[in-house]
């Protein structure tokens, strides 16, 4: 892939400008990123410098090596690898471990760009895709830890989400916590330079900003409060994304109308994710989703009007005369035979299966209520629960067993509770002492994501429960209070399900079981 500009380029991007060659453009972009880089390093220190340097070096090296492996001429002199490295570095937090920019740069250059054929052939912004790749791979390491404000527990964006007010001026100058490229002032300077040189399209960057602002204004809950909107604009990579990422003309639409739609889409999605999402980064995902839609926008905004309809949608069945063709009879016969066979097997195995279920349950109950030698239904409690169990707001209590020891004394309760997890119902046996303290939980049904939700079954998570009573609170990170349970990183749904189920059980104790049978 060469950087020569005067060849006729039949693909949609990049567009050869008459005055600018690709190396020139890349140099201007690097130049325009320089102020933000310098401010970032100055504010955040040597860590930041290390990240920036490593990102750039890794990107260039990766491109050189990849070109060699593919027997293609070296393209590192067109400067695009340098720009990718800079963009990636600026979007990382200053405390990010140094292997992140390296792995990220390699991913950006090799997978996002090189595999597709090099400069101009990628469909997704390499720096942003790499950032999201890192976010998903190294969730903990990528979390931005406050450097400047040692007291704060979150970045300004995190604080805003929690409803606090932040210092917008600091964010504007770049002296607040955030990613390395946080100085809005510096970014704006560079961005406006690019816009004036006509290297980036105003349609894109301004429609992104306007789309985002409008969305936050309408849906943010604070109306068009200037401080609130400015704060959101200055945080979370909005400005950087708008001027430097979304405008990459390889991955953005060609037509003016297309660019406008693309920009608005990104702005709106960014706002949606900022308000409603809980992923670590809202704008990066919004932009790469925009990238994914670009080819579609290009296909239809240029050539065909909006009225293009999907074909193949039918609504009514035909009105043919009703005859049963012979093959259908054969099919029905086969189905009937299969049905009979299945019923046969089912009735044979039905009891055995139930036996296994009961056995599995009793093992679970015994584990959470070890002193009991027998479990019995508590009639009154079961009456309250009903046949199928009781549903609370977000959990279900299936059954309640009373554990008695050999002397027929009450030694505890075993409740079967469940809640909707990620892959189905999460059902567990919850053991309680007669005083309502948790003795333990034991999952009887857990079909969550391996490596994430399934970790609920590990002692690290399960052992948090014994001893708690009345109710538990789910927190991210370390527990602050006695009744706090740390959620599993990356498995919020599963953790919430367990938390809801346990609370339902505890609540049941408080309202029904307490004070004797």
């Amino acid at each position: 892939m060469n950087a020569a500009v005067n060849t006729v380029n039949l693909s949609s991007a990049p567009h050869a400008r008459d005055k600018w060659t690709t190396p020139f453009i890349m140099r201007m972009v690097a130049l325009s990123l320089l102020p933000a880089t310098v401010v970032g390093i100055w504010v955040y220190g040597w860590n930041a410098f290390g990240i920036v340097a490593l990102a750039i070096v890794s990107a260039v090296a990766a491109e050189w090596v990849f070109n060699k492996i593919c027997h293609k001429p070296s393209t590192i002199w067109d400067g695009s690898a340098v720009v990718t490295g800079m963009l990636l570095a600026l979007s990382l937090g200053p405390q990010t471990p140094l292997y992140c920019p390296v792995i990220g740069s390699v991913f950006a250059i090799v997978v996002c760009k090189g595999c597709f054929g090099g400069l101009g052939k990628n469909f997704i912004n390499p720096a942003l895709a790499a950032r999201c790749f890192l976010l998903i791979s190294f969730a903990n390491a990528m979390a931005i830890k406050p450097v400047i404000d040692a007291v704060a527990t979150a970045t300004p964006v995190g604080a805003m989400k929690a409803g606090e007010v932040v210092n917008v001026t600091k964010m504007f100058l770049g002296t607040a916590d955030g990613v390395i490229g946080s100085s809005i002032l510096a970014l704006l300077a560079g961005g406006l330079l690019l816009w004036c040189l006509d290297i980036i399209h105003g349609e894109i960057c301004f429609s992104v900003l306007i789309g985002f602002t409008l969305f936050m204004g309408i849906f943010g809950g604070k109306g068009f409060d200037v401080n609130y909107l400015l704060a959101h604009l200055c945080g979370g990579g909005v400005v950087m994304g708008a001027f430097f990422m979304a405008t990459d003309y390889v991955t953005s639409p060609v037509s003016k109308l297309g660019q406008f739609i693309y920009g608005c889409l990104i702005g709106v999605l960014g706002g949606l994710f900022r308000l409603k999402g809980n992923t670590a980064d809202s704008f990066s995902y919004a932009i790469i989703i925009g990238n994914v839609c670009t080819p579609l926008i290009d296909t239809y905004i240029v050539q065909k009007p909006f009225a293009y309809r999907k074909v193949g949608k039918t609504r009514k069945a035909s009105k043919e005369p009703f005859r049963i063709p012979k093959p259908v009879i054969a099919l029905t016969l086969i189905a009937a035979i299969a049905g009979v066979a299945l019923s046969g097997v089912f009735s044979v195995t039905k009891d055995k299966i139930e036996e296994q279920e009961v056995f599995k349950q009793s093992v679970a109950y015994r584990e959470v209520c070890p002193e009991a030698t027998s479990f019995s239904y508590d009639d009154k409690a079961q009456e309250i629960l009903g046949d199928e169990g009781t549903e609370t707001e977000n959990a279900t209590i299936y059954a309640c067993y009373v554990g008695k020891n050999a002397q027929n004394d009450l030694v505890g309760y075993a409740l079967s509770v469940g809640a909707k997890g990620f892959g189905g119902q999460v059902i567990m046996a919850l053991g309680l002492t007669p005083e309502g303290k948790i003795t333990g939980i034991n999952f009887t049904e857990l079909k969550e994501t391996a490596g994430l939700g399934m970790r609920a079954d590990e002692p690290e998570f399960k052992d948090q429960f014994p001893g708690k009573s009345v109710s538990v609170d789910l927190v991210k990170g370390a527990p602050q209070d006695d009744n706090d349970i740390s959620a599993i990183t990356g498995a919020t749904v599963t953790s919430t399900a367990v938390h809801n189920a346990v609370n339902a059980g505890l609540n049941f104790y408080e309202t029904v079981l307490k004070g004797g049978n």
């Binding site: 791979s137 189905a335 056995f359």
Partner: protein
């Protein structure tokens, strides 16, 4: 005897169901989060595949052509349900380990694909060998992908810790990682020159997506043969 062995080898490498024929990708991507899952799913599928190939091959003269797909589906679904019920009842420990995969086998395109492409045109014994070959190929592909994903994602292989916990790149346990790892495996196979059926076809001009080519592939094969390229001596057509 040779043709039976050939079926085995075919399923393992030349026409590996997941990596070449692109069948059974759904469960392959979903289940290969750990190496152990790969073996579990693979072996369960192998069992059902062999049975299904056998039954359909025996019935091949009986099933009417126009409704053959629904018939196959009914047969396969019944076999899977029977397997699930039997395992649930009599082998509870195995059910604990494999239970969730068994219903997934119903939506495994490999079983239908082989029924359509092979079992309904060949004798039961050959079909059984084909089933074994394909099942083994599936198992190996899944286990390999599972090993890679588990190693990169959690640092373990079959539960044995090989890398420190902090090295885990969680993305590999998740959907993007699945796509990436399979892309990698297929690319490596291509790079080291394994002449799979797909490679030959890609080089002769089609996109190699056998899962959909069906009759069109026959024509292209004929063209390729006419171009003095030695056509692969495959019996039967490709899958629908």
């Amino acid at each position: 005897m040779k043709k039976y062995i050939e079926r085995l080898w075919n399923g393992l490498l030349k026409e590996n169901p997941v990596l070449v024929l692109m069948l059974g990708m759904c469960p392959a991507l979903a289940v290969s989060t750990q190496a152990a899952n790969g073996i579990g799913m693979g072996l369960s599928t192998l069992a059902v595949l062999v049975l299904s190939n056998f039954v359909i091959s025996c019935l091949r003269k009986v099933i009417p052509d126009s409704v053959r797909l629904p018939c196959y589906i009914v047969i396969v679904a019944s076999l899977v349900t029977v397997t699930e019920l039997l395992i649930k009842a009599y082998l509870p420990s195995i059910y604990e380990a494999l239970g969730i995969y068994i219903p997934l086998i119903v939506v495994n395109c490999i079983i239908l694909g082989r029924a359509e492409a092979y079992a309904n045109k060949h004798t039961p014994l050959l079909s059984v060998m084909d089933g074994i070959g394909m099942g083994l190929g599936f198992t190996i592909a899944l286990t390999l992908a599972g090993m890679i994903r588990e190693l990169l994602g959690a640092g373990t292989v079959f539960g044995l810790r090989l890398l420190p916990e902090s090295f885990g790149m969680t993305i590999f346990i998740q959907p993007p990682g699945a796509f990436l790892v399979f892309a990698l495996i297929i690319a490596v196979m291509n790079a080291i020159g394994i002449k799979t059926r797909q490679r030959q076809l890609v080089e002769s001009g089609c996109d190699g997506n056998c899962a959909l080519c069906s009759t069109a592939c026959e024509e292209r094969k004929a063209e390729a043969a006419a171009d003095a390229k030695p056509a692969s001596e495959q019996k039967g057509g490709d899958k629908a």
